[in-house]
């Protein structure tokens, strides 16, 4: 057993981290918001970084890496609140021509869960293709063929939404087994982004607690603050372990039970992101309740990701089913 990052993985993580720091700094988020949460130039750069082609074989122009590597990349994207249909374009890289290189922007929706909620499609206006996961397979749908109304005020200002009454059937691009696998991979990459959100919001809150002074001392000196932040760190590290394990087990199912490992990742990362981003707002006090402090963006993105590829509750039920 050698359950830690290899040197190559550390280099990969460092590479995507410095890319995100340079290209998607916090002060660029308002600009991306003004562009409706999508920028084709940035998308091309993400594609060049290999975000979508990461797991494609090198012979097909990919990077030839696995899920254990992809989770590192997606955690960094989450930490920096990078917007766009990142997971879907990554999943589509082996299915739809042009997705891996970023020329074809692919979004998607998971229709396998028992959900009677409204059909809300993310980033629809920017998509070249829509991937629909159903229990009997994955289907390519032409976004222009979808009758949908834009949602005037989406929760996450960087995740625009359309409301559709129904989806066309589309063209089948993967069978039921492949679709089930895509769902596991999607849940794992969403969990990785949630891990990043948990870490990013904890770091923002910790930095503020060191600098903000009240009663003549930094508020981070008070145990009431310390304990909030320590708990945030514990949740983040629990999620990190679960997300890394899910990536490793998807690459090598002999190392564990994929359904269970993915459930643990999605559930713990969702919980960590949800509670850490709330902690981040709380630690910022009144400023945490404003639009200008980005604390709210972590919580809003968390809600988007928590409600994709199975909620924590759904994954808990899947684990219970495996227990007998």
């Amino acid at each position: 057993m050698d359950f830690q990052l290899t040197e190559d993985q550390e280099a990969l993580q460092e590479g995507i981290r410095s890319f995100c720091e340079g290209r998607v700094p916090a002060d660029r988020l308002p600009d991306l918001e003004a562009k409706g949460g999508f920028d084709r130039g940035l998308w091309g750069e993400l594609a060049e970084m290999g975000v979508f082609s990461l797991r494609r074989p090198e012979a097909e122009g990919g990077v030839g890496l696995g899920c254990a590597d992809a989770v590192l990349v997606f955690a960094e994207l989450g930490r920096r609140l990078v917007p766009g249909p990142l997971v879907w374009s990554h999943l589509a890289a082996g299915l739809l021509e042009g997705a891996a290189g970023g020329a074809v922007v692919v979004g998607g929706i998971d229709c396998t869960a028992d959900s009677d909620g409204p059909l809300l499609l993310e980033h629809l206006a920017h998509l070249d293709a829509l991937l629909v996961l159903r229990t009997d397979g994955a289907f390519r749908v032409d976004p222009r063929a979808v009758a949908a109304e834009p949602v005037a005020v989406p929760l996450d200002p960087l995740t625009p939404l359309h409301h559709a009454a129904a989806l066309p059937g589309g063209e089948r691009v993967a069978d039921a087994a492949a679709a089930a696998r895509l769902r596991l991979e999607g849940a794992t990459l969403a969990a990785a982004q949630l891990l990043g959100l948990a870490e990013g919001s904890q770091q923002l809150a910790t930095a503020y607690a060191k600098q903000r002074e009240q009663f003549g001392r930094p508020i981070g000196e008070f145990q009431a603050m310390k304990h909030l932040l320590a708990d945030a760190f514990v949740r983040q590290e629990l999620a990190r372990a679960a997300v890394y394990a899910a990536g490793a087990i998807l690459d090598d199912p002999s190392a564990g039970e994929p359904v269970r490992a993915v459930a643990a990742a999605k559930l713990t990362a969702g919980e960590a992101a949800l509670r850490n981003s709330r902690t981040c707002i709380q630690v910022h006090g009144g400023m945490g309740y404003t639009w200008e402090v980005p604390a709210h963006l972590y919580l809003k993105r968390t809600w988007v990701l928590e409600n994709g590829f199975g909620t924590g509750g759904e994954h808990a039920h899947r684990v219970a089913d495996l227990l007998g």
Partner: protein, 392 residues
């Protein structure tokens, strides 16, 4: 990121498993909790068998008779012994996991010669005399005084939470040798022979009614100066050398027990006709997932430590989550028991005895070995770098 055993690790696991499959049933069931002489004999007898089979002192260097095992092998050892239902380390806890390693790191050649092999063979039992009634989380404020008289220290004071004191041969004792110095600078570490005149041991029953803990009263107890480990007034550093010792890998065993508790909870829910309840299924599935995640966290921490050679600070984070999860799980067990949870004996064909025992025992997990509040301070200050609170 490889989660599987290497070939050498798989071989180690297989050999250990085969040995345990014979040795554990042959050792028989544990004696009643209140029969201390029998418990000492049972635990030290098991330690002797571990020694003969080459599994004693997993982390101890080979030159002191240990196995010098890799952190991964220690993890496998904790996992497999728990899985096989092997006797818990019991009365050998302080000697093998704390006192012995402290002597290895800081003891004189004579001290090592005298104690290490006997601890490893189960011939010598140790207890701990660190905490005092007014020195708990703030351990360095301890008051037990040691006054030098020739080649002896004369020790008077009051120690508490001394596990297995009633059957111990030696105690690791922290005393104040310089009352004038700042509190961390006036402490020394002594080996206390438990048969020395002036020692009185009074049991301190736990809320579960068990007698593991004692208070130890010391009245002008004479301890030879040669029993001091490390320099005079350097005892705080000596203590911290091993304070985090083995905490990381030991959690593997605790997690196996959590998995077993959860499986028993599912059986109980089925027996009570509650397993179809979606709210219960969600809670149980959630806990199973969290146990898996914590397992992965332990592995990540152990592998990181074996690269750096240093036990990581994450042990505090692991302990925090472990104790919370353990308590939540036993609470859920009591919820499933319903009114049977009023009885500490099995009642109406339900295993309330075992569930209550776990429920009460779990209350200790967020207090012993550093309370959860102290662990949060450690995480916040040493990992997140938040400013220390002014303290005296």
């Amino acid at each position: 990121m490889d989660l599987r055993d290497s070939q050498a690790e798989a071989r180690f696991r297989e050999e250990l498993r085969a040995w345990l499959a014979e040795a554990v049933p042959a050792h028989g069931p544990p004696p009643p909790a209140h029969d201390w002489p029998a418990r000492r004999a049972y635990d030290t007898g098991w330690q002797r068998k571990l020694f003969d089979a080459g599994y004693a002192g997993m982390s101890w260097p080979a030159e002191y008779g240990g196995r010098d095992a890799t952190p991964n092998e220690q993890l496998i050892y904790s996992e497999e012994t728990a899985r096989a239902g092997a006797p818990y380390v019991g009365v050998n806890f302080v000697g093998t996991l704390h006192g012995g390693p402290t002597l290895i790191a800081e003891g004189t050649p004579e001290q090592k010669q005298r104690h290490l092999a006997r601890i490893l063979r189960g011939e010598e039992v140790w207890c701990q005399g660190f905490s005092e009634p007014s020195a708990g989380s703030d351990l360095a404020s301890l008051k037990t005084a040691a006054v030098r008289e020739g080649d002896h220290y004369v020790v008077s004071g009051h120690k508490i939470w001394c596990s297995f004191a009633q059957v111990a041969d030696f105690g690791e004792l922290l005393v104040r040798t310089d009352p004038e110095a700042p509190k961390h600078k006036g402490i020394s570490w002594l080996i206390l022979p438990m048969d020395a005149p002036g020692i009185e041991i009074r049991p301190l029953p736990t809320l579960a009614g068990e007698g593991e803990f004692s208070e130890v009263f010391l009245d002008a107890v004479r301890v030879p100066v040669e029993n001091r480990v490390g320099e005079e007034n350097d005892g705080w550093r000596v203590t911290n050398v091993t304070l985090r010792f083995e905490r990381g890998t030991a959690f593997a065993g605790e997690l196996v027990l959590l998995q077993r508790n959860l499986a028993e909870l599912v059986d109980l829910a089925k027996q009570r006709g509650r397993w179809a309840d979606p709210a219960l299924r969600e809670d149980v599935g959630h806990m199973a997932a969290e146990i898996d995640a914590l397992w992965a966290m332990v592995k990540l921490s152990v592998c990181r430590a074996s690269r750096t050679g240093m036990p990581g600070l994450e042990a505090s984070a692991i302990k925090l989550h472990y104790s919370e999860l353990y308590q939540r799980m036993t609470e859920l067990g009591l919820r499933v028991l319903g009114r049977a949870a009023l009885s500490r004996e099995d009642v109406g064909g339900l295993p309330s005895g075992r569930f209550l025992a776990e429920g009460l025992k779990s209350l200790n997990s967020s207090i012993a070995a550093g309370t959860s509040q102290i662990q949060r301070n450690i995480v916040a200050e040493r990992i997140l770098g938040l400013p220390r609170e002014p303290r005296r």
